[in-house]
């Protein structure tokens, strides 16, 4: 039987197509990104090798650091909203009737394309005809702001639809994890006189810690490479005040035709995403994982 299951030809037939595809589409491009970053290149003509010039330029490029700061701010906001999502998930998991319906409703925005969401929220934020300002005006606010046109507001105005889009996803993950906790633990704690808050804090929270770590990585890394809504809604504007790392990379490569510099940004993005993943995993590593099954 082992002979049948170690047939090299069949293994190659099953694995090679996918393996070659992922090498060609994911791994080789990463190596190329690093290499393009070492060149001066407009995407069409000949490449000129310039060594680390692009990477050096990156470190003194104020626009880049601004956009990196915006990405970091989004990561911070996403990280903080995880607490909110966890609270909602705990409420949802508290033997509530209709929990199933609620978690499905919460998930709907996540199913929609970023373009549709972006266009929808452009209309919500529309300075004169948008829902937000119509409501504010009817509440007596005389001159509500043009949310996406003011450089001090635009970034926060963009964060709201981004957080809105992913809320259901994180609530769902937390809900699934909380539902995995055996009911007997909660019952035992209740008999010992623990109240709902104590049970949430001292029993449920530690038991879903592993999942919380995963979501922190997902939220932070997802924020650092975030692109879609910002690209469609403001394209980094006004005046770069909502530019993030990925949109800056796109602009440098496909608008300014500086593919070398764009690639340097792309490679930096990759390194920072992998590094952040690693650091968060290290920081939140626990030696003993709690067993409850």
């Amino acid at each position: 039987m082992d002979k049948v299951l170690s047939n090299k030809k069949i293994i190659a037939l099953y694995v090679l197509p996918s393996l070659l595809l992922i090498l060609a589409i994911v791994y080789i491009p990463i190596v190329l990104t690093a290499y393009y970053g070492l060149n001066d290149w407009n995407g069409i003509g000949a490449m000129t090798f310039v060594g680390l010039d692009n990477y050096m330029a990156l470190f003194v490029d104020a626009t880049f650091w601004n956009s990196a700061g915006h990405s970091l701010l989004l990561a911070l906001f996403s990280g903080i909203s995880l607490i909110l999502y966890l609270v909602v998930a705990m409420v949802l998991a508290a033997k509530i009737k209709g929990a199933n319906l609620f978690r499905k409703i919460y998930l709907i925005p996540m199913l929609l394309s970023s373009v549709a969401i972006a266009q929808l929220w452009l209309k919500i934020y529309h300075p004169t005809n948008g829902v937000l300002n119509s409501v504010l005006e009817s509440l007596g606010v005389a001159n509500p702001p043009a949310w996406l046109a003011e450089s001090s507001l635009v970034l926060y105005a963009l964060f709201i639809p981004i957080l809105w889009q992913y809320a259901g996803f994180y609530i769902l993950i937390y809900y699934a994890a909380l539902k995995n906790i055996p009911a007997s633990l909660e019952e035992a704690a209740k008999i010992d006189g623990a109240n709902a808050l104590q049970i949430a804090w001292k029993i449920k929270l530690p038991l879903v810690m592993e999942v919380i770590k995963v979501t922190i990585v997902l939220a932070v890394v997802g924020s650092l490479k975030y692109f879609d809504l910002i690209f469609v809604m403001t394209d980094g504007g006004p005046n770069g005040s909502s530019e993030v790392m990925a949109s800056y990379m796109y602009h440098q490569a496909f608008r300014a035709y500086d593919f070398g510099y764009g690639s340097a940004i792309g490679f930096f993005l990759l390194v920072i995403c992998l590094a952040v993943t690693w650091v968060i995993r290290k920081l939140t590593a626990t030696k003993d994982t709690i067993q409850y099954s």
Binding site: Y14, S18, I22, V26, L32, L111, A116, A253
Partner: protein
Amino acid sequence: MFSINTRNRHGIAESKAGIVSKLGYTLLYAVLIAVAAMQLFPLVWLLFFSLKNNQEVFNLPPLSLPMNPRWENYAKVWSSGNIDVYFFNSVWITVAATLLTVVLGSLVTYAVTRMKWKGSSFVLGLFMVAMMIPVHSTLIPLFSLFSKVGLTDHPLSLILTYVAFNMPITIMILLGFYYALPKEVEEAAIIDGCSVNRMFIQIVFPMTSSVIATTAIINMIYNWNEFIFVNTFISSDNYKTLTVGVQNFIGQYTTDWGAIGATLMISILPILITFLFLSNRIVEGIAAGSVKG
């Protein structure tokens, strides 16, 4: 006497707890309903204004029902412009990429979990690490690779990238299911002289149909909504999918809110309808796919 006393005290405590928990539950529901309203409000508003004309959109309250629903908005955007072309491109590209991903992903997962060969864990690792890699970091090299082989402005560029980037999550979801699958049936089949190919096609593939459906739906959602690759690789209207097509199309209709609303509704309806019928499977699939990460 003593016993009555305790019973009394106990009774008072119990009714007090009852009131508290009733109040608590009302509060919990209030939180859940508020979140649900926030998730649904923009979409309901979108549906409503897709059935109104500009005058009704701007002069009536945002959530007023469309009194004479203007279905002609839908007819207008479907027949003018290229929405129908974008729509069918989205459909066939999504279906093709999804089919390829689940078939190739199943073959890899089978080879990794069931067959015996050196390097299987290394290959699996390659697929899993690919999940951490931001798509943006591969964008510039993929664009230049595809230009070199004549695949820019070609649907194949999209299908190949979608398959490669969805392969890791697909394998990850399948993996858990394959590990739990009993080996006895396959052992018996081998003793009876069944070949690996026949066993995979006639026994394993049908046994995994439920998890394949889950992964297929998740793939469909990702592929249907994908934006940055279409936006970068495809330039002619004949090959654009809905996400990017809608974006360009709306540019021509910046002032006709009914038409914009109808266009957006057309682009999100297929996903919403799928969700309506298969929501349990989608919710479980997303939960399974992410928690294991």
